[in-house]
Symmetry: C2
Subunit: 338 residues, 2 copies
């Protein structure tokens, strides 16, 4: 389909109102229009799969670290898709690419925004789950490079049943660490134990997190990998041992009130324990994406990594998927099949 006179209809999700707190379906609108014809250097991509990440919420504020989405602007999103018209030497029609496709069913953008996926034989959801910038790569650099996890260390992971958390648990286990995963609800905890293979799980909705940490790690934890922030961060800080590393990967509990974040009131535990809290974003490791992707793919191909994901069907359900991420309605990486 390289006939520019016959461009497809594209649906896109735009911002109607800035969410007050967690994002709701009613904060978004869907607009249908004919996809834009690519100019020289651009490609038209048919979007296959989009990942739902907490970072998207931060762009819905008026001032935002990842850039602010204007009212009526298309919601940013990362994903995979197939090039259907190419006006660039970089790609030919039929290539599977990954990049900032945005929340829409067709995307026209400069080819430079995208990279070709090295393994088009793997379905797009597994691909995003394991090799995505905000999934596998974040988990890899977070636990291996920032956390420097070592054999026999005790690693506590919040949001452990999520896209990043579930991979962090497995990557830590592969290094010989003991892993305790925190998630909300029995179903997620079952997945953690039976599929992800954690040593212990904590259901924060039905168990006392502090008591459970003390039960499974009576001498304290070496690493806390935090995707959540808020109260759980303080509880974890209260349970660190000497030289612990608290890795700040995200703070989904705080993104919906970014201007009045609850800071960790027990941060002085860092001094008592000669411990550190270190943050990162995956972009800091951009030069090493290729190397890490190879290793992750290799582990996956050897059957050593499982990639749980939760798929919502259709671009129309993108707002619902985003809402679910904040209500904890997903086990594994949330994605939209477009």
């Amino acid at each position: 389909m390289s006939d520019i006179s016959n461009l497809p209809n594209s649906k896109k999700i735009v911002l109607k109102t800035r969410p007050d707190g967690d994002p709701k379906v009613s904060d978004f609108d869907m607009i249908e229009e004919i996809a834009k014809a690519p100019d020289d250097g651009e490609v038209l991509v048919e979007v296959q799969a989009l990942e739902i990440g907490a970072w998207i919420r931060t762009t819905l504020n008026e001032t935002a670290f990842h850039g602010s989405t204007p009212i009526s602007g298309t919601i940013p999103a990362l994903g995979n898709g197939k090039v259907i018209i190419s006006k660039s030497d970089k790609f030919k029609e039929g290539d599977i690419v990954t990049g900032p496709l945005m929340a829409q069913s067709y995307t026209t953008m400069a080819a430079d925004f995208f990279t070709k996926v090295p393994n088009p034989e793997i379905d797009p959801f597994t691909q995003i789950g394991i090799l995505g910038v905000t999934t596998g790569l974040t988990a890899y650099f977070g636990i291996y490079e920032v956390g420097q996890v070592k054999k026999n260390e005790i690693v506590l992971v919040s949001g452990a049943a999520g896209g990043v958390g579930s991979l962090v648990c497995q990557l830590a286990k592969l290094k010989g660490a003991k892993v305790i995963g925190i998630a909300g609800g029995k179903e997620k905890c079952d997945v953690l134990k039976n599929e992800i293979g954690v040593d212990a799980s904590i259901d924060y909705k039905n168990q006392n997190v502090d008591e459970q940490i003390k039960l499974h790690a009576p001498e304290g934890i070496d690493i806390f990998f935090d995707n959540v922030g808020g109260e759980i961060l303080d509880i974890a800080l209260d349970n660190i041992r000497d030289r612990a590393r608290v890795i700040i990967c995200g703070a989904i509990s705080q993104y919906s009130h970014h201007d009045s974040v609850d800071g960790p009131s027990l941060y002085l535990r860092l001094a008592e324990k000669y411990a550190r809290m270190e943050g990162f974003t995956v972009m800091h490791f951009e030069e090493r994406y290729e190397e890490a992707s190879k290793e992750l793919l290799d582990l996956y191909n050897k059957g050593k990594l499982k990639v749980p994901f939760h798929i919502e069907d259709g671009i129309d359900n993108f707002p619902l998927a985003l809402q679910k991420l904040f209500t904890g309605g997903n086990t594994g990486k949330l994605m939209v099949k477009v």
Copy 2:
């Protein structure tokens, strides 16, 4: 004076009521009694000088990291003194020792609590200021070991005119860093510029700290050495650059309400900047006190370190000195001449 039948009168400062907020003179009592005769293995020490540290405040709570002082218990304090009766092989009468003498004019305690000062020719105040556990040694390990300060880095120091801060500024300068010191009031800022030799000072009582940091470090800071906590910690976090280190040495602004500490609400800047917040207490480096003391003494003898201190006269004034520490009434290390 090794005549046990003729023991001196000793004054000691005890806790009358647990302070509500910052410690006040009225929270303490002074008791006078005859010094206890040393048993075998003990020494009787005439206290010469005591250092006033913010950690003392933390012991006045019912639950406390450094141990809790009971009501009517003697206030803990570190200092130097002269052995006047020794029932231990470790010391002879006349030896100058350093250790946990407590807030009193004579101390009877196991000799093992003390170490002999290697340089008795230096006056006790300079000695405490430069080689004290909570002064020179804290500054040394904090900025060199935890902070790993490097040439041309920009180092921001809070409480810069205090006992630790003034040494941190100088030690960072000696490594070739650019140093910005934060202190309260023109007088302290003048000391910072004229005596300590910082590159820039910020008077937090009369200047906008955020604006001043941006003025002196438009590209952000590499190291924040924090003795203060609270609002200044958040302002500093808002000004870190990539790979910055925030060193948590203390949080004097928070010690008086230890159960409801204000956590740094901008801690997510750590993730944005791939930065770390690392805490320590000097006790973590105990095995290396000797090596660090030698280096500090050597720098002092070469005239490369100045040790500003503020002396209150007489053990009676120990409560006043402690109160002053929290109202910012001192420039340089606060000490009591006993």
